[in-house]
């Protein structure tokens, strides 16, 4: 299966497999597990997938790393591996790249993503029409079911799903506008 273009070059030209001393893989793991998990969680939005993909990244990358690489290089190599693992995940599950990890992520040109995504999400929510904001708050922040959300909003469950769909579409557009 061919992934879409631009998603298959995880390692770029990093040269982190050099060196002939043993890698202190436990130290590498301890140092990077939280950030790689967080990166992937923000890209898949659920714990089981985030755990699966994080596992794939470390199992794939650690045996290839050698101690000759710097901490920064190792971190970027893990991120690059995560980029490929994520692309493969979406390709297999949906056949479309829902989210991606920036090719140059972590580089000086592309700073690290914000550690706390909440402020951006709050900004997006604040710009939505009231019923759109309400449905997303109930569903995603308060994690209420569709039926509970519908009851709170005084609409049918089917209508709540439709409003949720439109709210997410608008939220995406607002997010894009905020980036640009």
């Amino acid at each position: 299966m061919e992934p879409s273009s631009g998603t298959d070059d995880p390692a770029g030209s990093f040269h982190v497999i050099d060196g002939d001393r043993p890698l202190d893989w436990e130290a590498v793991y301890r140092e990077n597990i939280a950030s790689i998990y967080r990166l992937l969680y923000y890209k898949v939005g659920n714990q089981p997938d985030a755990e699966d993909l994080t596992s794939q990244v470390f199992l794939d990358a650690l045996p290839r790393l050698r101690s000759g690489a710097s901490r920064g290089e190792i971190h970027m190599y893990l991120r690059a591996t995560a980029r490929t693992v994520l692309a493969t995940h979406w390709q297999r599950r949906l056949g479309v790249q829902v989210t991606t990890i920036d090719e140059n992520i972590g580089s000086p040109e592309a700073p690290e993503p914000p550690a706390d995504p909440l402020p951006r999400i709050r900004r997006i929510l604040s710009r939505l029409p009231a019923n759109y904001r309400r449905v997303l708050e109930l569903r995603f922040l308060e994690r209420q079911s569709v039926n509970e959300t519908a009851a709170q909003m005084g609409i049918s469950a089917g209508n709540a799903r439709v409003v949720q769909h439109r709210a997410l579409q608008r939220a995406f557009e607002l997010g894009q506008e905020m980036v640009s």
């Binding site: 597990i33 939005g45 493969t88 089917g158 799903r161 579409q169 995406f172």
Partner: protein
């Protein structure tokens, strides 16, 4: 609400309940909606924090599944390199592809010349300035010679995935596989790959300079 929208909605239900969302095909048009749902999820309490039980279980799994590879320090002596490279040449010529485990096999006693092996000139020294590489194909071995600041090394240029012939990418200093979007560094290590399976490094070939010729041990 259309059937399609209901399927999307159920996918989002899975996400919000922190379950593995089901496979979903034909969702190209709703990609943006799904992306927004994923982003919204990162606002929930505790999002992005790994479960300590997961962190520990993965650590144990790595130790169990890759300890042999990550803990091993294949400090290869010249002798070992020469020996394994010679064997690599012989085996590659026989149509077999070697995995990287081969390089860390115990060194045979003495410097090994594979039976029937001989030094074959593959390039003039002047053709491969420092920092460059040159492909060669002597009929039995297709490979690459690299000039690392005056020291010459050689490796097989046959992909260890399905045996496709690699192409020299001089600008990026790598070997690209035309079949499955994989690439190797000029030391044989894997730079990136598309396939989920492990991709072994390229076998190294024993190389030497003899009277202004770069020679590779081949059969």
């Amino acid at each position: 609400m259309s059937r399609r929208e209901r399927r999307i909605s159920r996918w989002i239900d899975d996400l919000i309940r922190d379950r593995k969302p089901r496979r979903l095909r034909g969702a190209q048009q709703e990609k943006d909606v799904l992306a927004a749902a994923v982003e919204m999820r990162s606002a929930s309490a505790g999002a992005g924090l790994p479960d300590p039980r997961f962190v520990e279980s993965l650590r144990q799994r790595i130790a169990r599944e890759t300890q042999g590879e990550v803990a091993r320090a294949p400090r290869l002596s010249r002798r070992t390199l020469l020996a394994s490279g010679g064997l690599a040449a012989a085996t590659a010529a026989a149509g077999l592809i070697l995995g990287e485990r081969f390089a860390s096999a115990p060194a045979p006693p003495g410097e090994l010349t594979p039976e029937g092996g001989r030094w074959v000139a593959v390039a003039d020294v002047a053709e491969v300035p420092a920092g460059t590489a040159k492909m060669f194909d002597n009929g039995s071995v297709r490979g690459l010679v690299v000039n690392n600041a005056g020291t010459f090394a050689a490796l097989s240029a046959v992909c260890t995935h399905q045996g496709c012939l690699l192409r020299l990418n001089a600008d990026a200093k790598r070997l690209d596989c035309p079949c499955h979007r994989a690439a190797f560094a000029w030391d044989g290590s894997v730079l990136f790959k598309q396939m989920p399976d492990a991709l072994p490094s390229l076998p190294r070939l024993a190389a030497r300079v003899n009277e202004h010729k770069i020679e590779v041990l081949a059969v």
